[in-house]
């Protein structure tokens, strides 16, 4: 389905996740973050870049991976993206929601 995000028509799935990463840009990110009541800071962008990099290398995302990432610790991660950090951060990063239970 289509959704207007940052005045652009973007393809998303029923949960709002982008289905075509080529449609992603920082404005889209900021707009989605706004819907989640998150104001993006440099630290947020650092995490988003890390997640996108992992996704492009086809490496699975998990909370354990965040712990080992060296980019951010788990406590900060929960503070930056409250209410389900991996779910929210991947939504903002324009990549699919992780399927893992851990």
């Amino acid at each position: 389905m289509k959704k207007i995000i940052a005045n652009k028509e973007i393809d998303v799935n029923e949960e709002g996740y982008l289905v075509d990463f080529s449609q992603w840009d920082k404005e889209v990110s900021e707009c989605i973050a706004g819907e989640c009541n998150i104001v993006m800071t440099d630290k947020h962008w650092e995490v988003i870049e890390y997640l996108q990099d992992k996704h492009h290398k086809e490496e699975a995302l998990s909370i354990r991976g965040i712990k080992k990432s060296g980019v951010i610790n788990i406590k900060e991660f929960y503070n930056l993206f409250p209410g389900g950090p991996l779910k929210k951060s991947t939504l903002i990063a324009g990549i699919p929601k992780p399927k893992s239970c851990i």
């Binding site: 909370i63 209410g83 389900g84 950090p85 991996l86 851990i102």
Partner: protein, 157 residues
């Protein structure tokens, strides 16, 4: 859709590895979905938060029909250790953290970890025998009072 579950409260009463992981995966899964979670360790569940014991939990090979080995064999020396080793290997493949690291992840994720007062007294344990991440030692009444809002669920494992 928003979940109607707001807080998951787990009581872990057993120290077999499969039961400890069941509690940990569900408690962590709750936090990942923005749901509050807490674990109350009682009786043998306390083994999972004792510094000296937590990395030595075993899978039960006796009285566990799902192991698909005869009970007599399951009781032979070394069988439990071997089955545990195999299970840990499979868990590592799925990137499941060992018990100690999992407890750190849970604590950092905001999952509250509690020891049961009665069981701590019964096993003559001291605070320093238990992991540093522990949020405190509670009576069961104290733990019930943690179910303080609509949408709380208590699960006994």
């Amino acid at each position: 859709m928003e979940s109607k579950v707001k807080k998951m409260l787990f009581i872990l009463s057993k120290a077999t590895i499969e039961n400890a992981y069941a509690a940990f995966v569900m408690a962590n899964g709750a936090r990942m979905e923005g749901i509050e979670s807490e674990i109350f360790f009682t009786f043998f569940g306390l083994e999972a938060i004792q510094k000296k014991k937590l990395e030595h939990l075993h899978v039960a090979t006796v009285g566990n029909p799902a192991m698909h080995i005869p009970t007599m064999l399951g009781g032979l020396p070394g069988v439990e250790a071997l089955a545990t080793k195999m299970m840990k290997k499979e868990m590592e493949k799925l990137d499941m953290p060992p018990i100690g690291e999992f407890l750190e992840i849970l604590s950092d994720s905001g999952c509250k970890l509690w020891g049961c007062k009665l069981a701590v007294d019964m096993f003559h344990l001291k605070r320093e025998d238990l992991i540093d991440e522990l949020d405190g030692i509670l009576t069961i009444g104290d733990f019930y009072s943690r179910a303080d809002q609509e949408g709380c669920q208590i699960v006994f494992i």
